[in-house]
């Protein structure tokens, strides 16, 4: 009985400590991934994007663009010269520029 109580207490202690530690770990691991838009094209898409990471859209083009998910998950307006950040959610997102439908790419977030 005493052994079970000790084990439970140990488990509780581990869990209590583990939660804040993992939360801090997630914050520290948050990565910013930059996607550059230039000359009517989305630049290469970042690999290894995880849910909670930041995707930074940088529009270096002379035209206004958007990064618009086909499933409606996001619709980022990007005026010429603008930088817009968004928090990535898990999924595979085909997206396009709603002004220039030839501009298409896919963002994979794990």
């Amino acid at each position: 009985m005493f052994r079970i109580v000790i084990m439970l207490a140990g488990l509780l202690l581990t869990t209590t400590w583990a939660l804040p530690a993992s939360a801090i770990g997630a914050n520290q691991a948050q990565v910013t991934h930059v996607v550059v838009i230039d000359k009517m094209a989305f630049g290469s898409m970042p690999a290894g994007v995880r849910a909670g990471d930041i995707v930074e859209w940088v529009n270096r083009d002379i035209f206004e663009h958007s990064a618009t998910a086909r499933d409606g998950s996001f619709d980022v307006g990007l005026k010429s010269g603008a930088t817009v950040r968004m928090t990535a959610k898990r999924g595979t997102f085909a997206f396009f520029c709603k002004f220039h439908p030839t501009m298409q790419a896919t963002l994979v977030v794990k």
Binding site: K39, M40, A41, I62, F63, E64, F99, H100, P101, T102
Partner: protein, 178 residues
């Protein structure tokens, strides 16, 4: 494609080709960068003028959004073209292709002016498809290969991607108006 549009497309491609001339294989093409800049700028102005007419005549939100996009994009590329010719110290030079473009566009604008409502919307959208197709052919077959300056060539290549995207958007607009 209807007759005026076809004639317009043919005149654009042939006028651009004629500037290159029979000696296209020679080292220096007979169309120069000053003429190319003028043609590209004129093509942009024509589509901006068409967009302004659409914004005056159309009440369809899709048509108006498309026209606003045309006006915005072509103004951006033309501003860039003006900045480039200023930097290069080049004065855009009027030529047969620019004149052909302008006269065909004026005729098209008069035709569109006589229409209203959905007839206007459909004709404007169809003309945008035809116009962008014609300009794309001129850009890829004649103007880009002939451009000598690397920055001008790069701007024309961006312009081609822009026009291709506009062409696709115009095709979507045509479908949505049916």
């Amino acid at each position: 494609m209807n007759k005026p549009l076809f004639a317009f497309a043919v005149s654009l491609v042939f006028a651009a080709s004629s500037l290159v001339g029979a000696n296209a294989a020679a080292a220096a093409p007979s169309i120069n960068d000053a003429q190319i800049a003028h043609i590209a700028y004129t093509a942009g102005v024509i589509d901006m003028t068409a967009a302004k007419q659409a914004l005056q005549k159309s009440h369809n939100p899709k048509v108006r959004a498309f026209a606003e996009e045309m006006a915005r994009d072509h103004a951006a590329v033309n501003d860039q073209a003006l900045a480039l010719v200023k930097k290069l110290g080049v004065t855009p030079q009027d030529n047969a292709t620019s004149q052909s473009l302008a006269s065909s566009a004026a005729a098209e604008q008069r035709k569109l002016a006589a229409l209203s409502g959905s007839a206007y919307d459909e004709a404007y959208a169809a003309n945008e498809v035809a116009y962008h197709k014609a300009v794309n052919a001129a850009l890829s077959d004649t103007l880009i290969p002939a451009a000598q300056n690397a920055e001008l060539k790069s701007l024309l290549e961006t312009g081609l991607k822009l026009f291709q995207s506009h062409e696709m958007h115009a095709e979507h607009l045509v479908q949505s108006l049916k």
